[in-house]
């Protein structure tokens, strides 16, 4: 063993107004290694138990797209911005599946690990952050399916595909902001979990996954873009499929993502000091 640490590091205080209220960004940086190990744990556990891991990942978006193609494209004759409907729906579904999965996991990140919260003082934000990052692997796998479908339809996404990191960052931030809110609320109010299922169900149909947002114009389109998934999915379709540039609705959605993130971080920071007492 080496000797004791050098003398007189600064006092760290727990108490008063700022006790256990480390800003979320600072905590996230401090816990970067922990976030990584949480992500690895998630992936190991998820993929080691299911032999057909990758198949399960693809099944949900693929099956939904088949149903959507039948209902929306064949029966309801919904447009798809000039893109073959299955491609159009799959791109939306891939983004949505990531978002809803990340938010579901994120909201459970704290209440699913009560022993960690009550026995260890790790930066709490590491749990929802890891929960939001680990489904990115599923997203990448689903993107491979989309690539195959692009080949089948002999379409090339063009240079806009290089903008993929942009919508990825946007959707991750959207999921993180929402998860910061929900994970902290879930500690306090356990029926958040019950409420989330139906909310996500409605949210899916309130987002332009099965239909294009281009049907709306002007003020209505901007109002619709208050749903952050409008901008995210629009940007993803533009980048992956050569869909229309989302324009001002993207700005509105990005603003909402930022607002949810900042407010979520603030609420999480304030709520975290009580996690160990209430959970």
């Amino acid at each position: 063993m080496s000797g004791p640490a050098p003398a007189a590091p600064a006092w760290r205080e727990n108490g008063g107004r700022d006790g256990l209220r480390e800003p979320v960004l600072a905590a996230l940086w401090r816990a970067r290694d922990l976030v990584w190990f949480f992500v690895l744990r998630d992936l190991r556990v998820r993929y080691s138990q299911a032999v057909l891991g990758v198949v399960w990942v693809l099944l949900q978006p693929a099956a939904t797209v088949v149903v959507f193609t039948f209902v929306f494209a064949r029966l309801a004759r919904v447009g798809s911005d000039g893109i073959p409907y299955p491609l159009f729906a799959l791109a939306g579904m891939v983004v949505w599946t990531y978002f809803s999965g990340a938010v579901s996991r994120g909201s459970e990140a704290l209440v699913g690990n009560p022993e960690l919260v009550t026995k260890v003082s790790f930066p709490r934000v590491a749990a929802p952050a890891a929960a939001v990052l680990s489904p990115l692997v599923d997203l990448v796998v689903s993107l491979a399916l989309l690539a195959v479908l692009l080949l089948v339809y002999r379409r090339s996404p063009g240079w806009a595909v290089l903008a993929t990191p942009l919508w990825l960052v946007l959707v991750v931030l959207a999921a993180l902001g929402t998860s910061l809110w929900l994970s902290a609320l879930n500690v306090r109010f356990r029926d958040v979990k019950q409420a989330l299922g139906p909310v996500l169900q409605v949210w899916l149909f309130a987002s332009p996954v099965a239909y294009p947002s281009s049907a709306l114009e002007g003020g209505t389109a901007l109002l619709y873009a208050l749903n952050p998934m409008v901008g995210v999915i629009g940007l993803a379709r533009w980048s992956l499929l050569g869909g229309p540039w989302p324009g001002w609705p993207l700005a509105v959605s990005s603003g909402v993502v930022l607002a949810v993130l900042v407010s979520g971080a603030a609420y999480f920071r304030r709520a975290q000091r009580e996690f160990a007492d209430v959970i």
Partner: protein, 392 residues
């Protein structure tokens, strides 16, 4: 230099906290009518101040629910004080539970990294200490096996090994000695002693007053959330045990359902009541109890534990004389021949039926045996067994 300082720390827990959105909304709607009530509040700590210097070891003792764990959680930064401030200098490693964050599906190797990171080590720290951790744990051969296939002993050893290699400035340890076998406990204590010699600061909670006094020169006695006494461990431990004795003798009445226990006493027939008990005295444990009704299958057990929580005796009435307890007041006597070593003991009392525990008080009475330990302080039972030696 001080490493840990608690200044007028109080902690309030709200019981029956609203954990339901629907109820919260209803409550918010009716708040103007009712206002907030305070009857659901529990003060776990009241105005606790203490400090620990660099390289010092402080013991914390007290009954269950006295607030010991809350103190540790506050100084480890797991929970915030309701009022007052806790300050720490340097890295604080809380060892409140062994193996927190271990995942059964992951291998030993993966769990070392995960658990290390949970406890605040960086990936580099863990890699640097990895071989030491593994060597100390003794599970090299099973490093790539999922820990769900480990025996509980292996699991504990690996988990403790990670925690033991944290190199914290302040090591905060809660009752971890309650788990594991004797060998494991010896390792834990040894490691803590090492940490102390390395000049780390130690805060240690334990019911094992023996180890506590050995590891920590100074102790704080918490009683119902307040500091009752603080000083040299040997003195604090003595007063703490004497208090238990006083409480036992004062005749705390235990009552549960149809059972009332009026008195639990330890005395000897050899000397007048109240005089100190000697190691060679035959002891009598006497229980006065009252049953409000006939309880079919009711049984009573007395158990005697030492300060390390080792249960030396555990005798049930039904072992030899079943069905002798009836409705009304009666006196039960258990005779214990001279067989215990010098030291402090607690007497536990259990009354119940095959279906339910009615009374279970692990410290119904305490007593001390005085005299000489004949130079063998570690033995629990003095049996004076006969040797035989013959030419062979």
């Amino acid at each position: 230099m001080l490493r840990v300082e608690l200044e007028h720390v109080s902690k309030r827990y709200r019981l029956g906290h609203r954990t339901n959105l629907r109820e919260a909304i209803t409550a918010a709607a009716s708040r103007p009518l009712h206002g907030r009530t305070s009857r659901d509040e529990l003060w776990s700590l009241r105005d606790v101040s203490l400090s620990v210097g660099d390289g010092e070891a402080l013991g914390i003792l007290g009954r269950n629910g006295a607030g010991k764990s809350t103190v540790l959680k506050i100084l480890a930064g797991i929970t915030a004080p309701t009022s007052g401030v806790s300050r720490t200098r340097g890295r604080v490693a809380p060892l409140l539970e062994v193996g927190t964050g271990f995942h059964p599906e992951l291998t030993g190797r993966e769990n070392v990294y995960l658990n290390g990171a949970v406890l605040g080590m960086s990936r580099r720290d863990i890699t640097r200490r990895f071989s030491e951790i593994v060597e100390f744990s003794g599970v090299e051969r099973f490093l790539d096996t999922p820990v769900k296939r480990y025996s509980s002993g292996m699991y504990l050893r690996l988990a403790f090994s990670v925690a033991a290699h944290l190199e914290p400035d302040v090591l905060v340890v809660d009752e971890i000695l309650a788990v594991g076998d004797a060998e494991f406990q010896r390792r834990c204590l040894g490691r803590m002693q090492e940490a102390e010699q390395e000049g780390r600061t130690l805060v240690f909670v334990s019911h094992d007053l023996d180890s506590l006094a050995r590891l920590c020169p100074r102790s704080v006695w918490l009683d119902a959330g307040e500091v009752r006494e603080s000083g040299p461990s040997s003195e604090v431990v003595r007063h703490y045990l004497a208090d238990g004795l006083a409480q036992g003798a004062a005749g705390r009445v235990l009552s549960a359902g149809p059972v009332t226990v009026h008195r639990v006493d330890v005395r000897t027939d050899q000397a007048p009541a109240g005089s100190p008990l000697l190691r060679d005295d035959p002891l009598v444990v006497e229980v006065d109890l009252e049953l409000d009704e006939e309880l079919p299958g009711v049984d009573l057990a007395l158990y005697v534990s030492d300060t390390r929580s080792v249960r030396i005796l555990d005798e049930a009435l039904s072992d030899r004389t079943p069905g002798v307890l009836h409705r009304g007041r009666q006196r039960v006597r258990l005779r214990v021949p001279p067989m215990l070593n010098v030291g402090d003991f607690t007497v536990g009392l259990w009354v119940g039926t095959a279906h339910e525990d009615l009374v279970d008080e692990p410290a119904a009475a305490t007593f001390s045996l005085h005299g000489h330990d004949r130079g063998r302080p570690d033995r629990v039972v003095v049996a004076d067994l006969p040797f035989e030696v013959e030419p062979a």
